[in-house]
Structure formats: C-alpha cells, structure tokens
C-alpha cells in the first residue's frame, strides 16, 4: 500500500517538474511579487498564438494551467477542507484518501467541461452568465454539501463515542456490536470476512459522497479558460488545460490528504501507549466533523 502511495506521489511530482520546466512557474511565481499582470499577458500570448495556429504554444499554456491550479488550490474551496477533515476524523487509509483527492480534482475539471459545453452549445450562455452560475449557485451548494458531510462525520463520531462508553460496562456485548460496524475500532480495518462486501459498499459510498461534494463546484479559472478557448475556436486546448489545472489542484489536496492521515496516525500512536484509543477516536472524529461543518458554513454564508 505504501508503495502505491509513494509511486503516485512520485508521478505527480514528476509531472509537476515537467510542467514547471515549461515556464508556467516563472509567470505564476511573479504573480505573488510583481503581480498577475504578467501572468494575464502570458496567458493571452499563448492563447493568441494558438488561435493563429502555432501549436508550440500548447506546452506554455498547459504549464501555466498546472501552475495556476496549484497556486489557486491554496485558496478556499477545492476540497482541502473536506479531505483534511475526513482524513483526520475517519478511519481512512492513506491510499484511499489520496485517490479521493486526485479523483475529486479531476472530477471538478470534468464538471467544468460538462457545464461549459452544455451551457455554451445547448443554452448559448455567455461567459459572465456561466461564471455567475458557478459563483452564485454551485459554490454555495458545494459548501452546503461539504458542511453536510461534516455534520455526518460529527454524528458518526457521536455514535461511536456512545458505543465506546457502553462498551466499558458491557464488554462482551459491545464487542459484537463493533463487528456489526464492520470496522475494528483500534486499527480501522475490517476483520469480518462475511462483512467485507458491506464494508466495501460503504467505502465506495463514502468516496462518492466526498468526490461529489467537492466536484459540484467547478473552479472559476477552469470555466474562464474553457469558455474563452471555445470562443476562440481552440476548444480542445482548453479541455486538456482544465484537466491539467485539476492535476495542479490535486497536488495540493494530495498533500493535505497525506498531512491529515500522518497527523491522525501520529495521534493514534501517542494514544496507543496510554490505551485510550477507543474513547479518543470518536472525539477526534467529532472535532474534525464540527470543524469541517463550521468552516464550510462560513464560506457558504459568504457566497450568498
């Protein structure tokens, strides 16, 4: 399992270096210091060259897309909150959380592509109208969905906490109940073979819920790029660019996933020596859920 994660991480880092070398980083880094004017002009330059038929500008545009995705992901949205909170609170293995991080970023790009192509071709919407839909409707919906997942984590933590409390008094009976839950409280793995199917279904459900909550809201930068490239007649450059932007975003959410799981494991290792894990775990889960819910509700209020 560790090997898969390491391999995945190396792949992303390699991709980052490759795209970095194309020059995107210079322009984006200057964003922070000398301002985004240079970035905007560089972007325009690449698009202009592509429009004039110079395919060599593709590398430059895509490099810029990756760097944009990476830096933009540092801001609110893009699922860092949810990934981090879930990683802290739920008993999720690093591999699975990393997978969720990457898939949700790419799904976010796919939603942007679907939205733009449906909007532009079927409804004839303008760029401003599309950005409006994303900012006014999809952003709050996504935050609400993330808040709901936070509350769900909180409630699940509460249930686990109650179970551990009762387990103190009725040890045998509770042990059985733990197995009903299909997940061992101390290690996060499913032990009952007959229950494996159910556990897998739950895992899949969790994954889909997380990915869905994040992907509902497409990134404004991707929308902007997609619509502009459609208008300029270089649509495919924009579609590929949107997914590369998603990879840039994924490298940040992946880092958050790794950080949160490492943090949780560290916490568990410390508690393991004191033997307080069964009671501490649900508390961590509740705290993470509450944090996710509160922050995303605040972000949602801001978009309304």
């Amino acid at each position: 399992m560790r090997h898969v994660v390491t391999g995945g991480a190396i792949l992303v880092v390699g991709l980052a270096v490759w795209l970095w070398g194309m020059g995107g980083s210079d322009q984006i880094l200057s964003w922070a210091t000398t301002g985004q004017e240079r970035v905007q002009n560089a972007m325009a330059g690449y698009l202009q060259e592509l429009r004039a038929g110079n395919r060599a500008a593709l590398a430059g545009l895509w490099g810029l897309c990756f760097a944009y995705g990476f830096f933009h992901a540092a801001g609110p949205g893009h699922g860092k909150l949810l990934i981090g909170g879930y990683g802290l609170g739920a008993q999720v293995p690093l591999t699975r959380l990393s997978l969720i991080a990457v898939i949700s970023s790419l799904a976010q790009a796919a939603v942007a592509v679907a939205l733009v192509y449906a909007g532009v071709f079927m409804l004839g919407l303008s760029r401003t109208a599309m950005t409006d839909i994303s900012d006014r409707w999809l952003a709050p919906v996504s935050y609400a969905a993330i808040a709901a997942v936070g509350i769900w984590l909180l409630l699940r933590g509460l249930r686990h906490w109650r179970q551990t409390r009762t387990s103190h008094h009725h040890d045998n009976h509770e042990h059985k109940k733990h197995h009903d839950d299909h997940v061992c409280q101390t290690c996060g793995h499913s032990h009952a073979p007959d229950a494996e199917h159910v556990a897998q279904a739950r895992t899949l459900r969790d994954m889909l819920v997380l990915i869905g909550a994040i992907a509902i809201r497409p990134c404004t930068g991707a929308l902007f790029l997609l619509i502009l490239t459609v208008q300029l007649g270089i649509g495919m450059a924009g579609v590929v660019g949107a997914f590369i932007m998603g990879l840039g975003t994924a490298s940040v959410t992946l880092a958050v996933a790794i950080a949160s799981v490492t943090l949780r494991d560290g916490l568990l290792a410390r508690l393991a020596t004191s033997g307080r894990i069964p009671r501490a775990l649900p508390l961590v889960e509740m705290a993470a859920g509450a944090l996710v819910a509160i922050i995303s509700l605040q972000l949602m209020m801001r978009t309304l």
């Binding site: 905007q40 972007m43 330059g45 004039a52 933009h72 801001g75 609110p76 958050v256 943090l263």
Partner: protein, 209 residues
Amino acid sequence: MFRAFALTLLMWAAPMAQAHPHVFVDVGLTFETDTDGNITAVQVRWTYDGLFTLLVLADGGYDADADLKLTDDEKAALLGFELTDWPEGFEGALFLHSEQKKIVLGTPEAISVELVDGQLETVHRRSLEPTDAHDLVVEPFDPYYYAALTLRSVNGLPETCDTDIVRPNQEEVAEWVAGLGDQSGESFFEEFRVGKYYTDRLEVTCATS
C-alpha cells in the same frame, strides 16, 4: 502534533489569488489648452492588458482571422465600447483637482480604438471648464480597484509647467489594505473602495508668467 495541525490549517487559509484587480490598464494623458494656457480638455488613452483584450475580441467575435489587426468595420463597432453603460457613480477612473477643489469633467467622447501588439488601445476625451494648470493634481484610478491603472505618459501641458508623478509603494499599500478586512468577496471592494490608495498621482506646478 500541534505544529502539524497548524500547518494543515495554514494550508486552508493560505492567500489565494487576489480577487481584485482583474484588468490592468496603462494610462496616457494629453491635455488641451486654450490660447491663455488654461486647460480645456484631456484626452485619455487606455491600453488594456492582453487577456482583457482577448476577452473583448472573443466576446464580440472580432479579429476572427487572428492576425491581431482590426478592420475598419470592427473599429467602428468597438469605438466607445467601454464608455457606454457606466455603472451608477462611476466617474471614468479619472480625478482632477485644482487647488484642492474637484474639477467636473464632461461626458466622455470616444476618439479612437486600435489593436497595438495584441493590446487594445482606446482614446477618449473629457472636456472641462478652462482651468489654470498650476497646482493641478490628476489621479487616474478605479475606486473599486476592478482595474489597476498605471499612469505612463503626460503631454500637452504649457511649457512653463513641470510635472511630477508620485507612485505609491504597491506592496506597502497592499499590506495596509489587507489589514482592512477579508478581500475574498466583492463586498469588500464596494465598501472600502481601495482603488484610491493604489493610485499614481500627477502633480503639476507652473511658473507664473
């Protein structure tokens, strides 16, 4: 453990790409004077950044052959595109003061639109009551800071006048503005109208003749 937790929190809160500005504009001013040397009008040249230019071209379907040249018809269609539909209270991103009194500018009159090296360049004219150039202060800025304006050139003032362009330290201003509140929403820019803090300032002093 706390260090790691703080790190994770930091990542969530790390500064995102700024909400404003979205458009970058270079400004050139050419003053018109009457025979007494009083200023009667100012011609304003706005040169837009490449991306905004491309957006305007794409939205209107201009320059379809991508040769970065506008036909006469396209120029005629684009002329004055940014002068119509000014939002309520928008004064044209140009503020003149003489002896600390605000000078009222006339309605903008479109003069030309060109595409120069991939950047749209427009010129419009604002008239004013004949005003002594001495002690004139000119500040080109968008109060909402949707556009960031930079004063690049000044022409047409009487020969007896000296000009001084005072530019703020952008980083210091940005830092100060960041202290005002959360800039991630539009309401911040409506409330604080921070454009004035970033503005270049032209100061004119003339020898009395």
